[in-house]
Symmetry: C2
Subunit: 577 residues, 2 copies
């Protein structure tokens, strides 16, 4: 296995030449510039490459295990976690009021890329903790915030999100876990949750579960769900947290991948918890943090794609098989073969455009929180809402496809465990499923996001894209993206007011078309910025051209398929399947 090279040059290119990072930070009154940002990313990248990447294969082999009812993570994980937290990586973007460093979300998202690239199982620990912190910060009482946030922000404690039950996954309306009020203002939580990432571990410290449950008087359905903070250890009389709460790990899920990550079946047997936010408003509280969480999951797909690209490119430059195109030399390194390059370019064209698009979206999230002008904040917030399902679903779909292609470069050597390529495929697969399946994301885009503000948000986004394409007129990538944008606008109009079946029939293909246009937009911006002689500039122009010629043409078939409507999908009776 080759070492991981953090994409610092690409981050720097995006910060300084494409995304206007310094200007954006200045607008928000943040005292951080591209040099500082790149230095932070470089340091983070070193930690990921040197500490987490070497643990990844081993973590997969050993896996997390349940020993006497407690989780034992693979050798090295607990030490790595403590070092990770001590170096401040757990608190990078957290609120300084609770000990965070308040750095912009774009740095957090790119750190998440490198975490996923080097060790997805590990990366879920800080990811879930951050999600839990955000929900607590936005909705919990001051007392809960003061008690739980500082040690969670520092990484002394971790967090977990307990939503899913065996009968309630996508449809949380069906969940059954109960919360009974106690006289002291706390609640007794009873029920079983499944698929709980980071539900338990052996890193030391408390584990703070946010659990969805129903109060006794709760209305049926999603309007009767409340959110509770349920810690593994309860406070004792001395202010310590030493009393085991009535919750336990029923089992570890046996999964296709992310073996080092302890995905728990959790049993809450009258566990003590406290209400977070209003009664019956738990789902809304949970959705507070959904945008950031879903962007994080999207970047997981991208991170694994980037890592698998590095491995495949490294292998292709060493592996000798076959003869040169003119037949004169042999054996040659397989990087000489056009089909191997095609696979690598497919991955790279996604990874670099996705990295730029993620960065752009993260900057909008920063604007949504920190811009001084309320109208700008609202505008940025709407753009993030629009792009979030696209980033989550498209990046994880392309991410998985990328890992599969990178594995293919290795031939039979990709199918055996030795090189770690099959682990990338197994690990990447989860990101298409959790945090809302990609089908759910697509329905979110078509059913909820397109209609925002009567369609004005998506039209505003298209206008933004159009402007950048116009500014880059003359570039092939700009012309091709404009053609694809026209197709996208056409099907967007046709989906206005679509019913549930029409939306569902179109959604996944629509999201992919939307993502292709968005990536074409980013390739246009990158190519326009990369008109110099530097090798990085030349490579950007070449890959932009590849994307325009080989990947964007998929837009046509997608648009035709979407236009076909739902009749052909709903024609068969359920019994005929």
């Amino acid at each position: 296995m080759f070492s991981y090279v953090p994409p610092i040059d690409d981050y720097r290119f995006l910060l300084t030449e494409v995304l206007g990072f310094d200007r954006a930070m200045a607008e928000m009154g943040k005292e951080v510039d591209a040099d500082l940002a790149a230095a932070v990313l470089e340091e983070a990248g070193r930690m990921c490459a040197d500490r987490l990447h070497p643990l990844n294969r081993h973590g997969d082999e050993e896996g997390s295990r349940l020993v006497d009812g407690l989780v034992k993570t693979p050798e090295g994980f607990a030490d790595a976690w403590r070092d990770f937290a001590a170096a401040g990586w757990a608190s990078l973007s957290a609120d300084p009021a609770y000990g965070g460093q308040g750095l912009p979300f774009i740095l957090q998202l790119w750190l998440d890329e490198m975490l996923a690239a080097t060790n997805l199982s590990f990366g879920l620990f800080p990811g879930l903790t951050r999600g839990a912190c955000e929900a607590i910060m936005a909705h919990a009482s001051d007392f809960l915030k003061a008690t739980y946030l500082p040690p969670m922000v520092s990484g002394e404690w971790t967090g977990a999100m307990a939503l899913t039950e065996s009968g309630a996954g996508t449809d949380l309306a069906l969940l059954k876990t109960k919360a009974a009020p106690d006289a002291d203002g706390s609640y007794a939580i009873t029920g079983q949750k499944i698929f709980i990432s980071s539900g338990d571990h052996d890193f030391g410290g408390n584990i703070v579960h946010l659990v969805l449950a129903r109060l006794p008087d709760a209305p049926a359905g999603v309007k009767g769900i409340s959110l509770f903070l349920v810690p593994k250890y309860l406070p004792d009389a001395d202010g310590g947290f030493t009393i085991r709460n009535s919750m336990s790990v029923g089992a570890l899920e046996k999964k296709m991948g992310i073996h080092a990550q302890p995905t728990c079946v959790m049993n809450y047997d009258g566990a003590t918890g406290w209400l977070v936010g209003e009664p019956h408003k738990g789902l809304a509280a949970m959705f507070t943090m959904m945008n950031a969480e879903r962007l994080m999951v999207g970047i997981q797909g991208l991170g694994i794609a980037g890592a698998s690209y590095q491995q495949a490119a490294g292998y292709a430059k060493e592996r000798l098989q076959g003869r040169s195109a003119d037949g004169a030399r042999g054996p040659v390194t397989i990087i000489e073969h056009a089909d191997v390059r095609r696979m690598l370019l497919n991955i790279r064209a996604f990874v670099e455009a996705g990295r730029a698009l993620a960065g752009w979206t993260a900057l909008q999230l920063d604007r949504a929180h920190h811009h001084p002008d309320a109208a700008e904040r609202a505008r940025a917030d709407a753009l993030v809402a629009l792009l979030t399902p696209v980033v989550k679903a498209a990046f994880t779909d392309f991410g998985f496809e990328s890992a599969v292609q990178a594995q293919q470069v290795f031939g039979g050597h990709g199918y055996i465990r030795e090189w770690g390529m099959e682990q990338y495929v197994r690990d990447a697969r989860i990101a298409q499923i959790y945090e809302g399946t990609n089908g759910v994301q697509a329905m979110d885009l078509v059913g909820r996001k397109l209609p925002m503000a009567g369609g004005a948000v998506v039209e505003g986004f298209f206008a933004l894209v159009e402007m950048d394409l116009a500014a880059a007129e003359g570039l092939n990538i700009a012309a091709k993206t404009r053609e694809a944008l026209a197709l996208l606008r056409g099907v967007t109009a046709s989906l206005r007011g679509a019913g549930t079946e029409a939306a569902g029939a179109a959604a996944v293909d629509y999201l992919r078309l939307f993502a292709l246009v968005s990536m074409g937009w980013m390739w246009t911006r990158m190519a326009a910025a990369a008109q110099g002689d530097a090798p990085l500039h030349g490579a950007k122009r070449a890959v932009a051209d590849y994307f325009a010629q080989r990947m964007l043409p998929q837009a046509q078939g997608l648009a035709v398929g979407i236009a076909a409507g739902e009749a052909t999908i709903m024609a068969l009776g359920a019994e005929a399947f």
Copy 2:
């Protein structure tokens, strides 16, 4: 996990209403009709569903292990193998001269589908044995044939193919295993082979390895490779096979999937072997059986796709989540949701067209061997050669994508092992790699098959397709397939005389376009035949329409991408990757 339902109704529909099985058999003078064929398939299906399907999950969990240097297959496999052989399933299509039943290859291929659908790891044992038998039959001496074929045909013994070495995979020119002649006419084989499926097992009986190696005076490259028969047990003086040959299992490969299949690293330490065919002509001897083997691997992808469809459809008809499209009912079974149907229809539109195309190709293979007219035999043989890489690569690509989509229908439950969906994904992945990676198949199609007879073979195929499309005029699927065929003809013309780089840049997308047209052709034939009132007829027409409207449109983007040529792929220097 749901039980497996063999697709006997679909086989019967294809035999009687689409492929003209009875007429084809009569032409070849074979005394088998559709009724008998369906009865054989039904019996085979029962064995697969009742014996092999229940072993599949357990086989994955236990895996094959190496115990004291010998392979121990999972509990139940050895018994299943003996019953499989005793019932005659190992000898279905084999030459009656050696104890085979001489049934047509189309039945063999569809048996292979059901084997892959229920237990791919198991199915590789008869598959490899059959391949080895074919090479021996075509090239070995009468003595070797008389000695080895009868027990291999009956399934008392099994076969294995030992080609790959760690430095020689796709490029067999690089292989280093040596064969030194002994005075008695045998050879001492020395070298290490990797990725050897069914290299050892505990079923009892001999294991006959066909090993590629170099003679002392061999020319360099592929023209210096010879083929040797190397049995695990050598003949003793009493006519038994009791003497252990100097060959051993060095290790079992740790793989992503097919865990029950013992994929061996084999060490030959001066092992005794006998030359099969002419010296230095081993590669040609090996390629004798390539068409049938590659068709078998193609159908493996299809088999897993069909099995995963059944599981996903079964789950979708039971799993309750979400509300009906009008919001009035909830929770509803997820088969009501359009996006779930879309995923299922994607799989089904591939599986049923692929099953038809595989059947058509298998009938051509039967014609190539058994038709009384030499010109017809040659014509059929050329069509098989043309279609073989398409079936191998496209079916395994669509097969893998199908398994992934079926897994997606299960949401989080698809990612954990319980339902077996992630096993389908892991198992299906190998078929895209072994027996020549799908990139190699695509290069075979573009570089070797398109130029056959100066392009007359592919033109003849297009003419065949065109004729069937014309006969079905008025059907939407026929009209859409004609459009896609026009695109395919255009890029086929543009690839005439293409250099290696141009061919490599186009090959994978070209093969997929070719497969889409071929499936459109089969959907046209099926829809044309399915104009009755029976539910199966109605379903065929509906799925044909889905294929036309939602899958065939991909053809456009593929044609545009292919037309872009190689410049954009070769633009970057190797160091820039």
